[in-house]
């Protein structure tokens, strides 16, 4: 599996400060509009969304995903490649 976080993302989605479930809702919507092969980078600070619901959604769809936690900044960077 390619290292997603070292690749240039096609688009970046900032959902910092958004309340559950908006991070998931906006991610789902964004991915639906993107093309196959595109890489989406998401900035998210909601633990349940970043660690749980977004990864579960990506796995369900069969999209490769990497979740990187930036502990010093208190948020996550999530990389999802649409298939």
């Amino acid at each position: 599996m390619a290292d997603l976080k070292s690749m240039e993302p096609t688009e970046t989605l900032d959902v910092l400060g958004r309340v559950c479930p908006y991070p998931l809702v906006l991610t789902k919507k964004k991915l639906e509009k993107m093309n196959s092969g595109d890489l989406l980078k998401i900035l998210c600070d909601a633990p349940a969304s970043a660690e749980d619901s977004i990864p579960r959604y990506a796995e369900k769809q069969g999209y490769p995903i990497e979740v990187v936690k930036l502990e010093d900044k208190g948020y996550w960077e999530i990389y999802i490649q649409k298939k």
């Binding site: 989605l13 400060g17 958004r18 309340v19 559950c20 479930p21 908006y22 998931l24 809702v25 906006l26 789902k28 919507k29 964004k30 600070d45 909601a46 633990p47 349940a48 660690e51 749980d52 619901s53 990864p55 579960r56 959604y57 796995e59 369900k60 979740v67 936690k69 502990e71 208190g74 948020y75």
Partner: protein, 353 residues
């Protein structure tokens, strides 16, 4: 009193810890079923439910709990209140337990939801909405020796005085079988569904089976601890206890076991979040704060009318197999799905981001 405070706090802390580690938001559990067709959290819910139902009824049978308090069946209130509560939790971005544990993660929006929730409860039970509350809750159905009957409170007391066996209806009294037959059948139906498919281990936090089992054990423990030290078996619930906590803080009422449980929940979640380095104070936009406040108000109204929230009815009440709780739980889920459809699924089709 000291034992009440300490045992309530400890069970609250344990609950908050498990909810945070399991990222166990029941709003999410219900939502994901129709939003992304994912059943993991819902399976955790069912697993928890099986454990609590078996555990609580077992404790009752061996005499560790004198009686599981089963709610009187108030069909209109349970249906209307449950459904409205289900709508509210989606707007609020958290359920009765979710809003308390999210405080422990540093989410300021949860404070705002709780403010709405408690105002909603007071307005409904004691304030301007109390006529609506009293009206909706005035229709009650009881299990009598001659089957289900609609009875007023006065009629019930009259029958009790005559020594007639009038009790809140349950799934098993309704069908007319031993409670263990109902528990057995429900378990046999649920287990294959729960263990269909695999388990992916999350990066951090608990997997769904671990969350379900631990939460089931904690809620069973709560049934027992509240009987032993809390002045009566009540288990884990959030609606009544949230109001009791505010009464304790604002009017100097004696603290209840439930109020201590509510207080312990964010502490447990905070300890867990600290351990995972996930605690961060954060606030959403004013627009979202307003939305969660309104959601909290709606939750307060719905939970008061319905007689409980997703935990009080959905887990603890369901474990008693009271018809009131089973019906309310079904309508909480239907309310959640309705709001998810209108708030997320439908607008997404023409939403532009």
């Amino acid at each position: 009193m000291l034992a009440l405070v300490i045992s309530g706090l400890i069970v609250g802390i344990a609950t908050g810890w498990v909810l945070q580690r399991g990222r166990y938001c029941m709003n999410t559990a219900f939502r994901d079923v129709i939003f992304i067709n994912d059943y993991n959290l819902f399976k955790a819910y069912l697993l928890c439910l099986i454990i609590v139902t078996i555990g609580a009824n077992f404790l009752e049978d061996i005499g560790q709990i004198e009686e599981l308090r089963r709610q009187a069946f108030s069909p209109i209130a349970n249906i209307v209140g449950g459904y409205i509560f289900g709508l509210g939790i989606v707007l609020a971005g958290g359920c009765g337990s979710g809003i308390w544990y999210k405080i422990g993660e540093g989410q300021f929006n949860a404070w705002v939801t709780i403010l709405g929730f408690v105002i909603g409860i007071y307005a409904t039970k004691n304030g301007i909405l109390s006529p609506v509350y009293n009206f909706l809750r005035s229709f009650t159905v009881w299990q009598t020796p001659d089957g289900l009957k609609a009875l007023s409170d006065e009629q019930v007391i009259e029958l009790w005085d005559k020594g007639v066996d009038v009790v809140p209806p349950t799934l098993y009294s309704f069908i007319g079988v031993n409670k263990w037959i109902v528990i057995g059948v429900l378990t046999v139906i649920a287990l294959p569904f729960i263990f269909r498919g695999g388990v992916q281990k999350p990066q951090k936090g608990y997997s769904w089976p671990l969350t379900g089992v631990l939460l089931g054990l904690v809620v069973t423990l709560a049934w027992w601890a509240s009987e032993k030290w809390g002045g009566g078996a009540r288990g884990v619930s959030y609606t009544g206890p949230t109001q009791e906590l505010f009464k304790f803080i604002l009017t100097g009422d004696t603290p209840t076991w439930g109020a201590m449980l509510v207080l312990g929940t964010p502490i447990g979640a905070w300890l867990s979040a600290k351990g995972l380095k996930e605690f961060k104070l954060k606030a959403p936009s004013a627009e979202e704060l307003l939305r969660v406040f309104v959601g909290g108000l709606i939750m307060g109204f719905g939970a008061s009318v319905g007689g409980g929230c997703n935990v009080g009815h959905g887990i603890t009440g369901f474990s008693t197999l009271a018809l009131a709780s089973v019906v309310a739980t079904i309508f909480i889920i239907l309310g959640n799905w309705t709001m998810v459809y209108f708030l997320f699924i439908k607008p997404m089709k023409d939403m532009d981001i």
